[in-house]
Symmetry: C2
Subunit: 304 residues, 2 copies
């Protein structure tokens, strides 16, 4: 059973098609459920793919284009009908207030929980949420309006002690915490017992990076370096590279180039323009540059 799972709810772009819903993803991490973007129909997709609405911890909105936010009113309304009482944090650019407040005013007392809108910083990297085991941060992308990417990461877990070795050296209990964190043990005689003889490494931490919508922007590479999974938009094929440039979107090849530069383990592309009925062309162009590429599609799950 994995602890880190991404479910694609929508892999389309501004104009929905019969094949692709507007953008939304669920990130399940350490038994918390996070949402990135919330295009129209997101709550319907959650139903379809049996996501547990009651588990939703918070929502991260990359930018305020309609295809990334038009599902919010319906989602908030349904959470209310389900009787949610715990606060919901929505991380989004501050202008969202202007769009969402009339709705909240109109819903008034029918909203059963508090919504906290937490403004994103469109200029620089920022930690949005952190606890003992996970960290979520945002970083700027390059689009027509303020847009942020998101990084979900597990924190490196402490090493596991080798019980037999601890007993053998008769190490006092009060030093165990330090040893788990990497310290050596110095015996009463002054002998140094190297940490690697006393422990086995903890579970390696994993990282998921989300980059949509964005023009080709090598300056984001350091934020997403060595991610286990990178979702990068690939709105267009190479034949539409001029259109990609004009609209601050990426081609599949550019997405793959970012994946390559960032040395990620795997790339998932999505945010397909509605002109692509057949996505083979996008996949092919990406694979030529970065072989470990997959296509996003509605309902697809990526386990880290």
């Amino acid at each position: 059973m994995t602890n880190f799972r991404i479910t694609i709810l929508g892999s389309g772009s501004a104009m929905p098609t019969t094949l692709h819903n507007p953008p939304s993803q669920l990130i399940e991490l350490n038994n918390k459920l996070f949402m990135i973007d919330c295009g129209e129909g997101t709550q319907l997709q959650m139903r379809k793919f049996k996501a547990r609405m009651s588990k939703l911890h918070s929502v991260f909105i990359s930018h305020l284009h309609g295809d990334h936010i038009f599902g919010l009113p319906g989602l908030l309304s349904t959470l209310s009908l389900l009787g949610r009482t715990s606060d919901l944090n929505i991380y989004a650019h501050k202008e969202i207030d202007f769009l969402i407040n009339p709705f909240l005013t109109y819903m008034g007392k029918h909203i059963t929980f508090k919504i906290n809108v937490i403004p994103l910083n469109p200029e620089s990297e920022e930690i949005l949420f952190e606890n003992q085991s996970i960290k979520i941060s945002s970083f700027p992308l390059k689009h027509r309006i303020d847009t942020n990417g998101f990084l979900f990461e597990e924190k490196k877990s402490a090493s596991h002690i080798i019980r037999d070795m601890i007993d053998y050296h008769n190490i006092p209990f009060n030093l165990i915490h330090g040893i788990k964190r990497g310290e050596d043990y110095i015996t009463p005689d002054g002998e140094v017992i190297k940490n690697e003889l006393l422990t086995i490494p903890g579970t390696p931490s994993k990282k998921y990076a989300y980059c949509s919508d964005t023009a080709y922007a090598p300056e984001i590479v350091h934020y997403i370096k060595k991610a286990d999974l990178l979702y990068h938009e690939a709105t267009f094929a190479e034949s539409e590279s001029k259109r990609a440039e004009e609209t601050y979107h990426s081609t599949a090849g550019q997405a793959a180039q970012i994946a390559k530069l960032a040395e990620v383990k795997k790339l998932v592309i999505g945010h397909y323009s509605s002109r692509y009925y057949e996505l083979g062309v996008l996949l092919k162009e990406a694979i030529l540059i970065f072989p470990e590429t997959e296509l996003a599609s509605e309902g697809k799950i990526f386990e880290l």
Copy 2:
């Protein structure tokens, strides 16, 4: 080929399920396409059922509960992306301005067409649209907030003249219009030739009535009298009649009772509460009172 066709896009209610989308219907009448209500995902349903977005003439919103309006921003946005230039009339209660204006302001110059919001009269019957061949009117329903039903009707077409009889009596051309409208012909000798000898009746006009959301309200019967098709909400089964009363909704039996009182030809029920996975109970309760009942479902088409 029929000229009057209703397509159900959503037959659910406030809480969408995997089976039912929030309310929306398309009315195709005399080559014009009208929409009633626009719940979340309506534009996706239009795609799915291959409705021609470019043909959309105007939108009628019964009331301002979220499940009837949350699809509007996405629809308007997509119509813009498709380059619509002709005005779009939205018939809705006046408070819709408050909800829709921030969105329009935000979209700004990206909206390629003019939107006219035309306020509904929640107190009495009113003609909303009329031309030579069709008439669309609204009438008050009985819900928790101002809510209107809609009546779509063909105008009775003029009678067809019987050419042989016109020739036989040598009737002057300038009298033909009156005869088509039902006048008798008086010969130069003063003989009265009855209209029914000169004409065959025109195509009978058809009527479609939409009633959702509403409590049981026999006072609406005269608005929808003898409709060819009545859509009436049936949110609950008889076992939930108390809940229906409290929430100003109808049971399936009450919908059937309205159909019976109004002497309509056929009843379609919908707006099912999400608690009904199996709709047989609703259909059964309605049929006992009004046998000509059908269940609405996504994609179902009713031809008049």
